[in-house]
């Protein structure tokens, strides 16, 4: 562990951001277990994919900005990429699940004309 010349307030801020983001991701994943149907479960992990991801990446940006003594916004690249791709993957997955469920005629499948 390289304990750099980081001020105490900086270390506390980095830790608070990282722990808050991780706790939000964990909360979202708990929804993966607790919710009943697939169409409810597909919403749960996005809590980690949006705010949890943003807080952890903000902790990383803050840490490297304080230790390198200049603004290091590299992690914004990851954030931008995830923000663009997460809705695409989850909509594709939900449509695939809908296609499979309609083909088999399950019980709690959303109707064709139903607005979500």
């Amino acid at each position: 562990m390289t304990a750099p010349d980081l001020p105490l307030w900086g270390a506390v801020a980095v830790v608070v951001l990282a722990v808050a983001g991780s706790a939000l991701s964990l909360l979202g994943v708990v929804g993966l277990v607790r919710l009943r149907t697939f169409y409810e479960r597909v919403h749960a992990p996005t809590l980690g994919a949006t705010l949890g991801m943003a807080l952890v990446l903000a902790a990383s940006v803050l840490f490297f900005t304080l230790t390198e003594r200049r603004f290091m916004p590299r992690e914004i690249l990851i954030g931008l990429f995830l923000t663009v791709t997460t809705p695409v993957t989850l909509i594709l997955l939900a449509r695939a699940a809908l296609f499979r469920d309609r083909g088999e005629g399950g019980e709690d499948v959303p109707e064709a004309g139903e607005t979500p």
């Binding site: 270390a11 991780s22 697939f38 992990p45 990383s60 990429f81 993957t89």
Partner: protein, 93 residues
Amino acid sequence: MSGAVLSWGLGVAQLLLVAAMAIAAWRIVRGPRAQDRVLGMDTLYLNAMLLIVVFGVRTGSDLYFEAALIIGMLGFAATVALAKFLMRGEVIE
């Protein structure tokens, strides 16, 4: 002092992320259907990427950033390919 705060606090964050990965792996094992397993795998990828970012902060090394970026891209490609497979039965038509 700030080294101890960083070490312990980031250790707690890593424990939370590992717990999230364990729960996602449980969803992959349990199913009950293929789309649930794909959703669990997507969540597992996301949490692994966040874990590697936290590793990068803990060690102060630049290399972990690139690993996290590549894992994020691989997760996107894998989930899209699996969703396409579930819908069509093949990935490239």
